[in-house]
């Protein structure tokens, strides 16, 4: 590959061009500055918000919700998915209901959540947990159910107990599917975090910062918030890629 091709292929060229076009348009008065902030203004706001600590406070509050929701929803999803996938009675009892639940759009739950849990942190975290729960549960169930019967025969020959079989055979065999569920959960959780900040009571958070920017007509704050949200999502995805490649290193293709 030539040097030029490498640079063009890096995926940075087009965003850079956009940035330049944006900057030039502002400078030459092509964009209305009442609804468009300049790149400089965004950078200046970022610096100011960083210095007075409000950016990190907001980000910290959002990440805390995100992580708590992920842990809670992920744990319940994993346990329930594995349980439904291995215990026949549980499967017959609960699967129809749980499969029905996935047709209720996530944001439909908001009124119920606020009636039950109020408008503050518990409701937000529960909402994020719900967003995480379904993809984790469904993919874990799928993975656990499709374990190769020939491997289960080996487990029987080796006289593994039920728990050993689950831990050493069923769950590893389901790991690629579970990983898919967790990857989705990561995306959904961040989405739900921002959504929760928009729709429940106001409290520090990166989504709230955007809403604040809108109310005060501070475009640079809105753009900064969006940039941070995108950056965090990108970072999450990169970390998840690395972890997945390591955990699933036994697979043929990774």
């Amino acid at each position: 590959m030539s040097r030029l091709e490498k640079i063009l292929g890096s995926g940075l060229v087009f965003p850079l061009l956009l940035l330049i076009a944006w900057d030039l348009s502002i400078r030459h008065g092509l964009l209305d500055t009442r609804i468009w902030a300049s790149p400089e203004a965004v950078v200046a706001t970022a610096r100011e918000q960083f210095r007075d600590g409000s950016l990190l406070t907001a980000l910290g509050a959002s990440l805390r919700r995100d992580v708590l929701g992920l842990l809670g929803g992920g744990f319940v999803g994993l346990v329930l998915g594995a349980g439904l996938g291995t215990i026949r009675l549980l499967d017959d009892l609960l699967s129809p209901l749980l499969n029905g639940l996935k047709h209720i759009a996530l944001f439909t739950w908001i009124p119920l959540m606020s009636i039950w849990l109020g408008n503050d942190e518990p409701a937000k975290i529960a909402f994020i947990g719900l967003a995480v729960f379904l993809p984790v549960m469904l993919n874990t169930y799928q993975g656990v159910r499709s374990v190769d019967a020939r491997y289960l025969e080996v487990a029987r020959i080796l006289k593994l107990t039920r728990l050993q079989t689950l831990r050493r055979v069923i769950l590893p065999s389901a790991a690629p599917s579970i990983a898919t569920g967790l990857r989705l959960a990561l995306i959904y959780a961040w989405l739900a975090t921002i959504g929760a900040e928009y729709l429940f009571a106001v409290a520090p958070g990166i989504g709230s910062a955007i809403m604040e920017g809108r109310e005060q007509f501070r475009m640079e704050l809105v753009l900064l918030g969006m940039g941070v949200i995108g950056g965090v999502g990108f970072l999450f995805n990169t970390i998840a890629n690395r972890m997945q490649a390591y955990v699933l290193r036994w697979q043929d293709t990774n």
């Binding site: 020939r150 080996v154 020959i157 080796l158 050493r168 065999s173 036994w250």
Partner: protein, 252 residues
């Protein structure tokens, strides 16, 4: 190792439903194997060899007749009855070492003894240097050897081997045969070996059982009364080989 007594297979039948019809994979088969005996099982593809091993292993209990071990009817699998599958069936998410270690998960050995035994079996099958390799990184023959190590490591009293050397080159194969014979002689394990190789069956077996297909049954049993280690170029060996080949070639 616990002594299990005689393996007594009495008038067993095994049917499969194939496209709605009952298909007899094994029909009225009887066979006894004495403790410490080495039995070779030969027969054309599809005559029910793997099916028979599955029944003895306890993986499949849906059959007619009975299989007794030391006059007790077998039920379920047991660590005393090992099975090396026709395909290696290593767990792809475990390394060679971990795959073999899993066979010792419920053994009484101490951690130190386990480690020594695993290392010993890895070198027995010539996989030194591949302890940390995943199955996808092994050749077919290497994977098969790892599976042999997994089957041997917990020293079952009865070991069922389903074409364990099928994917090996001639030299490795001869070497593995020696090692297997050595373990058999040293430990008094009862072995039932399925193979397509007449030489192998005669080289290792006290008896060679030749099966016939459709329905699966025993056509002929040949006693191999030759001193060990056997000489494949020996006249008596060749005579037995001709006899086995003849019965394999018969139809009906």
């Amino acid at each position: 190792m616990t002594e299990l007594g005689t393996l007594d297979i009495r008038h067993i039948n095994k049917r499969f439903q194939v496209a709605g019809d009952a298909f007899a994979a094994i029909d009225d088969l009887s066979l006894t194997v004495e403790p410490g005996e080495f039995l070779s099982l030969l027969g054309p593809s599809g005559c029910g060899k793997s099916t028979l091993l599955r029944l003895i292993s306890g993986l499949d209990s849906d059959y007619g007749g009975e299989i007794l071990l030391g006059s007790k009817r077998i039920s379920g699998t047991s660590l005393a009855r090992g099975l090396i599958f026709q395909e290696h069936r290593l767990f792809p998410w475990l390394t060679v070492e971990e795959n073999i270690a899993l066979a010792l998960e419920n053994s009484q050995l101490s951690v130190e003894e386990k480690r020594a035994s695993i290392a010993g079996h890895i070198s027995l099958v010539g996989l030194n240097g591949f302890e940390k390799a995943f199955p996808r990184q092994l050749s077919g023959g290497m994977a098969q050897r790892a599976a042999i190590a997994r089957g041997l490591v917990n020293r079952p009293a009865l070991l069922l081997l389903d074409e364990p050397f099928g994917a090996l080159d001639a030299l490795t194969r001869a070497h593995m045969q020696e090692e297997l014979q050595h373990i058999w002689q040293a430990e008094g394990i009862t072995m039932v070996l399925v193979t397509h190789d007449v030489d192998e069956a005669l080289y290792l077996g006290d008896r060679v059982v030749v099966m016939a297909p459709r329905p699966g049954r025993i056509r002929k049993t040949v006693d191999v009364d030759l001193p060990r280690p056997r000489d494949r170029t020996d006249v008596a060996f060749s005579r037995l080989k001709a006899e086995v080949l003849l019965s394999l070639g018969e139809t009906g």
